[in-house]
């Protein structure tokens, strides 16, 4: 997994870990520390998890176990385009699972992962409250309504085209 990380954790997080270490059962603050790391960096890198393990003196394998057990933790940075497929009841009965499969096969990644070029990441979400538009997909802040699996390649192609334009050398 290729991840870019700062060399060491944010000093505020380090101070928080130090404070936890002075409390009874410091290991019980692991979740809270990981939430702060994810809040600051958007995801949990291996380097950061290893640093948390060392600073808190909790086995690295345990940190790894916790971070993979809870779905909330992201183990890869979000892509430039964060795709989120609603799997709430209404979207699901309208075939959201098929849309998710289409994104997975088009991008070659699983839920919670990010494409190697860092452009796309894939997540699911619960009900967004716009069931009338079901099935719904959001990409960053934009909502796409009544999406079909057939539309998925086109949606991605449009984003790639925009991306190519953006990075093309200006004339």
């Amino acid at each position: 997994m290729s991840v870019e990380t700062a060399e060491t954790l944010d000093p505020q997080i380090i101070a928080y870990i130090e404070a936890c270490r002075k409390l009874p059962h410091p290991e019980s603050y692991l979740m809270s520390i990981l939430h702060r790391v994810q809040g600051r960096y958007g995801y949990l890198s291996q380097a950061h998890m290893a640093e948390v393990a060392q600073r808190l003196q909790v086995p690295t394998s345990a940190v790894s176990g916790v971070s993979t057990f809870y779905h909330f933790f992201r183990l890869q940075p979000q892509g430039k385009y964060a795709i989120s497929v609603c799997l709430g009841t209404a979207c699901f009965v309208k075939g959201a699972d098929k849309i998710l499969e289409a994104f997975q096969s088009e991008l070659g990644i699983e839920l919670g992962e990010t494409t190697k070029d860092g452009l796309f990441s894939l997540e699911n979400t619960r009900c967004l409250g716009v069931c009338g538009l079901a099935p719904v997909v959001t990409i960053n802040d934009k909502v796409y309504s009544q999406v079909t699996p057939q539309q998925v390649p086109e949606m991605l192609n449009r984003l790639l085209a925009a991306e190519a334009k953006e990075t093309a050398p200006t004339a």
Partner: protein
């Protein structure tokens, strides 16, 4: 302590409070079937096989984790309970490969035995089966997660007994898998290669990295001079693999078996152990005289050395620079013995039979290579692998005549035999070091005060007017306790023996799976194996390493003196900090 009165299967039982139902049932001869439970590890309650009916409880209760209460009425057997247990095993089998006949654990698998005992005679479910690649990056331990039943015994032994915490369960639900942190390969983890995960695994999710194929190939190669050496603790345990009672010494049958397998010469790792004693005692005496880098930490146990490099790199200067007895002997086989026989060291193939999986990693360390680029030791077989080879070859081990080791690297003192037991290296070193320091022969050779059968022991010895503080630890959680004391400067320790595996080498990760009536980590089986070694020691006429005439000859003819430049080159090594860093 309060006594609790209860009833199990209509029989009155009295046990101390805090006893579990499973333990209480055991006191009246009821063996409740179990799978994830292990008496020396924390209670898991994951497999649910040990369920019983408790009067008044809505559902069946796990007897391993439920404590007795006054007036409890318990039923351990009924058609419903038996059916429920059978269902549970069928569900485990549903997600388990159907490859019993080709599995290394066939016939010795706890899951297989349990399925048989509970009367599982057909496989009713055909569901989704988990798929994981075999993880064989390690030189010692191979992990096959498809065979894993998630009992977490390996996770528990790695954390609770070894303090290594390499393994954990990652992910959840059907994707749950036991791996090192970040699903790193075992070769890139803090794994110390001790193999205790293999020992406690009820199936074959963990196995040693097999070396039998390469050894068969070497034996069949007419261009190779294939020789064997066997570690002290092999003789005390190998018989178990052939149905002999635990603790039956089988030194001489093992030698004969190895000759029949085609080894041209069979040597004794004990000779290397005697040599280790001389070199290490020399090192200890030097350090005591100069008050230099004390305590001296023993260096025979490969698992412990890798632990030192990952977890306590700051204590590396304290470790003895002595190579392990195995590597010392191999180094001599490719130099001293090669010269004696007029052989090119490249043509000598050294197979070491070890109770240990960590030795498979030790031999590939670049420090342990001959100047011709080949490792000093070409292959390591565990006791289990040798048992299998002997069976595969059609040798009836229990009917073999006695055989003797080849000379001169096959003769050893009793001090070498006890290397296989906890406190043995310490005791052997003391027999030599104390005589060196006092200049007088010892009146009593047995240092029973350093035999740490309980895992950790400390003693203070009065030697030539000096108080020598020694400590012995086996199982690395115990080692951590003593190393933290060293770091805190609590007491001026002089010599500390550390063995990675509980009980010492006799409890190594490559020893036979325990026979019926015993379990892995069973102190009783360790006691019997240890007893075999002390009996061999007591029956020998030469019981001190420095009295071994062939060791004297080796120094006279080849090495010079203990600690000489040549001895350093061939018998000593160095260590370096290792990543990833372990959590203390």
């Amino acid at each position: 302590m309060k006594t609790i009165n209860l009833e199990i299967d209509g029989l009155p039982v009295q046990v101390p409070e805090n006893t579990t139902i499973m333990e209480a049932a055991q006191t009246i001869g009821i063996h409740i079937p179990r799978l994830c439970y292990h008496p020396d590890l924390s209670i898991e309650g994951a497999c649910r096989i040990c369920i019983v009916a408790v009067d008044g409880a809505r559902t069946f209760q796990t007897s391993c984790s439920t404590r007795v209460q006054e007036g409890m009425k318990i039923q351990t057997n009924s058609p419903e309970i038996r059916q429920a247990r059978r269902d549970l095993v069928e569900l485990i089998l549903d997600n388990h490969p159907r490859e019993c006949q080709t599995c290394e654990r066939d016939g010795q698998c706890e899951l297989q035995n349990l399925a048989y005992n509970l009367g599982v005679r057909e496989r009713l479910f055909e569901g989704w089966r988990k798929e994981f690649p075999i993880e064989d990056s390690s030189h010692s331990v191979v992990r096959d997660s498809e065979r894993c039943i998630l009992c977490r015994r390996c996770v528990r032994v790695c954390s609770e007994i070894q303090g290594v915490h390499n393994l954990s369960q990652l992910h959840r639900g059907v994707r749950t898998v036991v791996t090192p942190a970040f699903e790193s390969p075992m070769s890139d983890s803090v794994c110390i290669n001790c193999g205790q995960c293999i020992n406690v695994c009820p199936t074959a999710a963990f196995l040693e990295k097999r070396s039998t194929e390469e050894v068969w190939a070497a034996l069949a190669d007419p261009g190779k001079h294939v020789v064997a050496q066997i570690a002290p603790s092999i003789r005390a345990a190998i018989g178990e693999g052939f149905g002999l009672a635990p603790g039956t010494p089988a030194t001489h049958q093992t030698v004969t078996a190895l000759r029949r397998l085609g080894f041209e010469a069979v040597f004794d790792t004990n000779f290397g152990a005697d040599l280790t004693v001389i070199e290490e005692a020399h090192e200890l005496v030097q350090r005591l005289k100069q008050n230099d880098r004390l305590p001296l930490l023993t260096s025979c146990s490969s698992g412990w050395i890798k632990f030192l490099e990952h977890f306590y790199p700051e204590l590396i200067p304290h470790a003895s620079s002595c190579r392990s007895p195995m590597t010392m002997l191999s180094a001599l086989l490719k130099t001293y013995y090669a010269e004696m026989k007029g052989l090119d060291p490249k043509d000598i193939y050294v197979v070491a039979v070890m109770p240990c999986t960590a030795k498979k990693f030790e031999i590939i360390r670049p420090e342990h290579r001959h100047e011709n680029g080949r490792p000093y030791t070409d292959a390591v077989l565990t006791t289990r692998e040798l048992v299998w080879m002997i069976k595969a070859y059609g040798i009836d081990f229990t009917k073999l005549p006695d055989g003797d080791f080849d000379s001169p690297l096959g003769f050893s003192s009793g001090a070498a035999d006890i290397f296989g037991a906890t406190g043995g290296v310490m005791e052997a070193a003391l027999r030599t070091a104390v005589e060196t320091l006092t200049g007088k022969p010892l009146a009593k050779l047995d240092f029973t005060e350093v035999r740490a059968v309980e895992g950790l022991k400390e003693a203070t010895l009065d030697v030539a007017g000096m108080s020598i503080n020694v400590a012995v630890a086996n199982g690395l959680t115990n080692a951590k306790t003593i190393l933290e004391k060293v770091k805190a400067g609590e007491k001026p320790y002089h010599l500390i023996e550390i063995m990675a595996c509980p009980g010492g080498c006799i409890g190594g990760g490559g020893q036979p799976y325990p026979p019926d009536g015993h379990y892995v980590l069973d102190r009783e089986i360790y006691r019997l194996r240890t007893q075999a070694l002390y009996t061999i020691d007591a029956e020998k006429t030469v019981r001190k390493s420095h009295d071994n005439p062939f060791i004297k000859e080796l120094y006279d003819k080849f090495l010079g003196s203990p600690g000489s430049e040549k001895a350093h080159h061939l018998l000593h090594t160095h260590y370096a900090p290792r990543e990833p860093r372990g959590i203390k």
